[in-house]
């Protein structure tokens, strides 16, 4: 469960979020809104990458302000640009890097890395330089690096923005199969098909909140 209680975020002179209150318990949650509406900030609040100026955000009962380190073990975050989140030079090393602080025995870490690379079709690229992968493969690698930690919640900030149609579809299919609770911030409306709930943000406020058809309909009117 993710709880926002009267969350306000002010960056410099700008109110990015203006009193967001919501309880997110559904398995698939989408967040849409115009550029600058505060949706990426909302996503970043969930694992403590951003902190509220006032109000509280709790994830799985943990306060992001005081327990960010614990929350990050439970909440995986996928950024728009996979290049910015790939840390190690080769594919397998980057996935293994996520496990470093867990001090797993080498065999166990290797097993988990091989398993997750196999699951997302990157087993054949294990020793390849990460920068040689295509954009879609890099996003899959970023997902592998998140999934190897077996998080309970996954937050994705515009995961398909830099991908072509084929890779966008691939990410959409993978997203449907993920067993975790997933919060996706996106402009890619077809990605939200089959979601349980969609929030529409406008100028830092939630202006619509419901099933995808209704919320996206509201968003289309807002953008008209």
């Amino acid at each position: 469960m993710i709880e926002f209680a009267d969350v306000r975020v002010r960056l410099g002179e700008r109110d990015v979020l203006r009193g967001v209150t919501a309880s997110l318990g559904e398995r698939r949650i989408g967040v849409v809104g115009a550029n600058g509406s505060g949706k990426s900030t909302l996503a970043r609040l969930i694992n403590g990458l951003a902190l509220p100026t006032s109000g509280t955000v709790t994830v799985l009962g943990l306060d992001t302000r005081r327990q960010a380190a614990k929350i990050r073990r439970e909440v995986g975050f996928l950024f728009t640009d996979p290049d910015a989140q790939i840390v190690m030079p080769t594919v397998a090393e980057d996935v293994a890097f996520s496990l470093r602080r867990h001090r797993l025995p080498r065999e166990e870490a290797d097993r988990r890395v091989a398993e997750v690379l196999g699951r997302y079709g990157l087993a054949g690229h294990a020793d390849h330089p990460a920068h040689h992968l295509s954009g879609g493969q890099k996003q899959l690698l970023a997902l592998c690096s998140v999934m190897v930690l077996e998080p309970r919640v996954i937050v994705m900030d515009e995961p398909t923005t830099l991908l072509d149609l084929r890779h966008s579809r691939q990410v959409a299919e993978l997203l449907r199969e993920l067993p975790q609770q997933v919060v996706v911030v996106t402009h890619d409306l077809p990605l939200l098909a089959g979601f349980d709930r969609v929030l529409v943000l406008d100028e830092g406020r939630v202006v619509a909140d419901g099933v995808p058809e209704e919320a996206i309909g509201h968003y289309r009117k807002l953008m008209a």
Partner: protein, 201 residues
């Protein structure tokens, strides 16, 4: 398959299987020996042995050349200057010493995974804890440096394309400003990604 300086080339050769610590220690010993060698024939022998080691590693000619390519003009200039000041024999000794050392260092990096190198460096830098430094963070600097090379190369390529598109390819400022801004943005994003992956715990 890989022609980039310092990039790991996957393989199963004896050199790939050798522990990273042994390779780094061997490199230190051999580089010291290179400094002590005075004969061009001995250094020529060292160059032949180095070429043999590359063959043993089976990394391919492109990857081998990529390791010494960055110093090719430096080597030519060094040889020419040394020839003028100390003669042809001295020039051959100095130049071979530099090129062989660079080639051997390159051989270690392309046959060793960065993570293995990081593990060795972490062990070596363990005493840094006494002065409050985290060896993991220090070794992470190494891997981020290696990882950032192709990212910055891509960024520089994009900036050059944008310059050409706008007809300002001769302007140093038009190249440097977006490159620095892009690099800083990347650093910001990378820092945030490291936080998201729990690296600031």
């Amino acid at each position: 398959m890989n022609g980039r300086t310092g990039a790991y080339v996957p393989g199963a050769s004896p050199l790939h299987r050798l522990p990273a610590g042994a390779k780094l220690a061997g490199l230190a010993v051999v580089c010291t020996a290179l400094v002590l060698l005075r004969s061009p024939f001995a250094l020529g022998g060292a160059a032949v042995v180095t070429a043999g080691l590359y063959a043993l590693s089976r990394v391919g000619v492109a990857a081998a050349w990529a390791q010494v390519r960055p110093v090719r003009w430096f080597a030519v200039a060094l040889f020419a200057l040394q020839w003028v000041f100390v003669g042809v024999e001295g020039a051959a000794v100095t130049t071979l010493r530099v090129v062989v050392a660079v080639a051997l260092a390159g051989l270690v990096t392309i046959t060793t995974r960065t993570s293995e190198m990081m593990a060795v460096l972490e062990r070596l830098m363990a005493p840094a804890r006494l002065v409050g430094l985290d060896p993991f963070r220090l070794s992470l600097l190494l891997s981020l440096t290696i990882r950032t090379v192709p990212v910055l190369a891509d960024l520089a390529g994009r900036v050059r394309d944008a310059q050409r598109a706008r007809g300002v390819e001769r302007s140093l400022r038009a190249f440097a400003v977006p490159l620095v801004v892009g690099a800083l943005r990347h650093a910001d994003a990378l820092g945030e990604a490291l936080s998201a992956r729990g690296l600031d715990d």
